[in-house]
Amino acid sequence: MSRRAEALLALLGVAALIFTAWAAPWLRFVLTVALAKGLGVLGLLLLLRAGQVSFGHAMFLALGAYTVAFAAPSVPETLVLLPAAALLAGVAGLLIGLFVVRYRDIFFGMLNLALSMVFYSVLEKFYAVTKGTDGIRVPPLTIAGLEPVRETQEWVMFGLALGLALLCALGVRAYLASPMGQALAGIKTRETRLEFLGVPARRVLLFAYVLSATMGGAAGALIAMTSRHVTPQLAYWTSSGELIFIGILGGAGSALGPFLGAAAFELVRVYAAAAVADAWQMILGGVLLAVILFAPGGLIGILSGRAQQRPAGRA
C-alpha cells in the first residue's frame, strides 16, 4: 500500500473510531478492547514477518492483565500500571524468547502453545493466589492521581488505547522498513544467507519477540483496566487462536490490519452474539473461510485493493 493511502486510511479509521465512540457510548468499551487486541495482534504480525506463528501469544496479554490485577490494590495508578505490565511482559518475552527463537515453524508455534498452557494452568490451579477460574476484580484506578467519573474514565481508556495503537503502528512500520525489520523478513526466505552476511538471525528474531511480548503486555493491561476483571481464560489457547484469527481477518500487509481486524471482529461478535447467539461461532468460521479463500490479504487488502493491484500489475 502506498504511504499516502495508508496515512489516509489511518486518519479515516481514527475519525470513524472517535465518532462511533461518541455517537454510540455503549460501543466505547467494545472499541477500547478492540484497540487493545489489535495491539496484541500487531505483535503477532512481527513474528509472522519472519514466517513464524505463535499459537500461545495470549500468554503475554494475560501476563499484562494479571500484572494489573495483582498490583492495582497497592498501586492503583493507570499511568504506572500500564508501563509496568508492558515491561514485565517484555522481560518475560526475553526469557521465553531466548529459548523459543532457536526453533522454527511448527516447533516454534507449538512451544509457544505449550508455554501458554502451562501459564494457563498456573493461573487456574493456584486458587489461593489467583482465585482460579473466578478471576480477580480490578479496583477503580486513578489517572495521573485523579479519580475521574465513569464516563471520563471510559474516554481516557479509549484515548490511551487509541494513542498507544497509533504509536505502536507507526513504530512497527518504521521497524519493519529498517535493516532489522528487513532482516526479520529474511528469516522467512533465506536464513542461511543472513548468517553468511554476519547477521545473527536468532538475535534478530529475539528482538521481534521481545517487542511483540511487550506490546502484548500493554494490550493485556488495557483489557484488564477496561473490563476490570481478569480470568485465566485470557491465557487459554482459544484466546491465542483468536489473535491469529484477527490477524488473518485484518491482513498482515500493513500495521493497520490488526486494528481493522480487531474492530471488525469485536463489532461482529457484539451484534452477532445478540442476534444469533448460538450461530455466532459458525458465522466467524464462515467469515474466516471467506477471507482465506477470496481475500488472502485480509480486510486491509480489500480496502487497499486498488492501490495494491497497480504495483503488482507492473511487476
Binding site: 522498513a177 529498517s178 535493516p179 532489522m180 528487513q182 532482516a183 529474511g186 553468511f196 552476511l197 511487476a315
Partner: protein
C-alpha cells in the same frame, strides 16, 4: 616466500562411510584465483563448508591470516573477511535485488538501527553502486526470484562482495548458467574481484573457464587432492584427463 592467506591441514570429515574430506592440505596464496575441479561427490562443497564454519571437520586445522578459525560460527568467520557464494544462490526471494544488496551493505555497517529505513539514501546509493559493478543495475527493482540464473549467481556473489572480504569462496559460480551467458558472467566477476583485490577459490566444472581464469588448479577426488598446479600442466595431465575431465565430459554428454 609469501605467507598463505588460508592454510588447511589434514582436514578429515566422513559422513557414515563416505569420506568427504580425507586429509586435505591446501594453501591459498594472497591474490590468486584457485580453481577446484573434480567429479560429483568428491568433497569440493564440503571443503567450502568446513572453511566457512558450516561444517566442522573431525580432524585437522584451518588458519586464516595466521589465526585458527576452526570452530568459529559462520557469521564470525564472515566477519573476519571470508566471503562465500553458493551453488544454489541464496537470495532473499521476496525482496528486490536492490533490497538484497542494501541488506548486505547494512550487514557490513551493523543492522541494529530499528527506526531508519533500509533504503536510506546512503545505503541505496552504495547498493546501486555495488549492483552496477556487477552489471545488475538494470534489474535492481526486480524481485530476486524473477532473475535468470546468470543474474542470480552474480547477485549472490555481489552480496558476499558487499562485506568486502579478502578471501571469497565460490561454489560453482557458472553451474546452471546458460552457455551463451557463461563467459560474460565469469568475466564480470573476475573483473570485480581483481579490481577489489579479492583472493578467490572457486569450484568449477567448465574446463574452458578454468583454463582461462585460474592461476592454479586443485584436483579433488574422493576427499583428497589428487594434484595441484598451473592449469596448463594440470589439465594436460593424463591421469587428470582420465579420472576427472573424462568423467565430466561423459557426465556432460550423458
Amino acid at each position: 616466500m609469501t605467507v598463505p592467506l588460508l592454510s588447511a591441514r589434514g582436514l578429515r570429515l566422513a559422513f557414515g562411510g563416505v569420506k568427504a574430506a580425507d586429509g586435505i592440505d591446501l594453501d591459498v596464496m594472497p591474490g590468486e584465483f584457485l580453481a577446484i575441479i573434480g567429479p560429483n561427490g568428491a568433497g569440493k562443497t564440503t571443503f567450502i563448508n568446513m572453511t566457512t564454519g558450516y561444517l566442522r571437520p573431525q580432524a585437522g586445522a584451518i588458519e586464516y591470516e595466521g589465526q585458527a578459525i576452526l570452530g568459529l560460527a559462520p557469521r564470525a568467520i564472515v566477519r573476519r573477511g571470508i566471503g562465500r557464494s553458493f551453488q544454489l544462490p541464496q537470495l532473499f526471494t521476496e525482496h528486490t535485488v536492490l533490497e538484497n544488496a542494501a541488506l548486505a551493505i547494512a550487514a557490513r555497517a551493523g543492522i541494529w538501527s530499528p527506526l531508519v529505513p533500509l533504503l536510506r539514501p546512503g545505503y541505496r546509493r552504495d547498493a546501486m553502486a555495488l549492483l552496477a559493478r556487477f552489471g545488475l543495475e538494470g534489474v535492481a527493482e526486480a524481485r530476486a526470484d524473477a532473475l535468470n540464473e546468470g543474474a542470480r549467481k552474480l547477485a549472490d556473489i555481489a552480496m558476499a562482495v558487499a562485506l568486502e572480504p579478502r578471501l571469497l569462496l565460490m561454489d560453482e559460480p557458472t553451474s546452471g548458467v546458460a552457455a551463451s551467458e557463461k563467459m560474460g558472467v565469469v568475466e564480470t566477476l573476475v573483473r570485480v574481484l581483481r579490481e577489489a583485490g579479492v583472493t578467490a577459490v572457486f569450484v568449477e566444472h567448465d574446463m574452458e573457464v578454468v583454463a582461462r581464469f585460474a592461476d592454479r588448479v586443485a584436483v579433488w577426488s574422493q576427499g583428497r587432492i589428487l594434484t595441484l598446479g598451473p592449469p596448463a600442466a594440470v589439465l594436460a595431465d593424463p591421469a587428470v584427463r582420465r579420472e576427472v575431465i573424462g568423467i565430466e565430459a561423459a557426465a556432460a554428454h550423458g
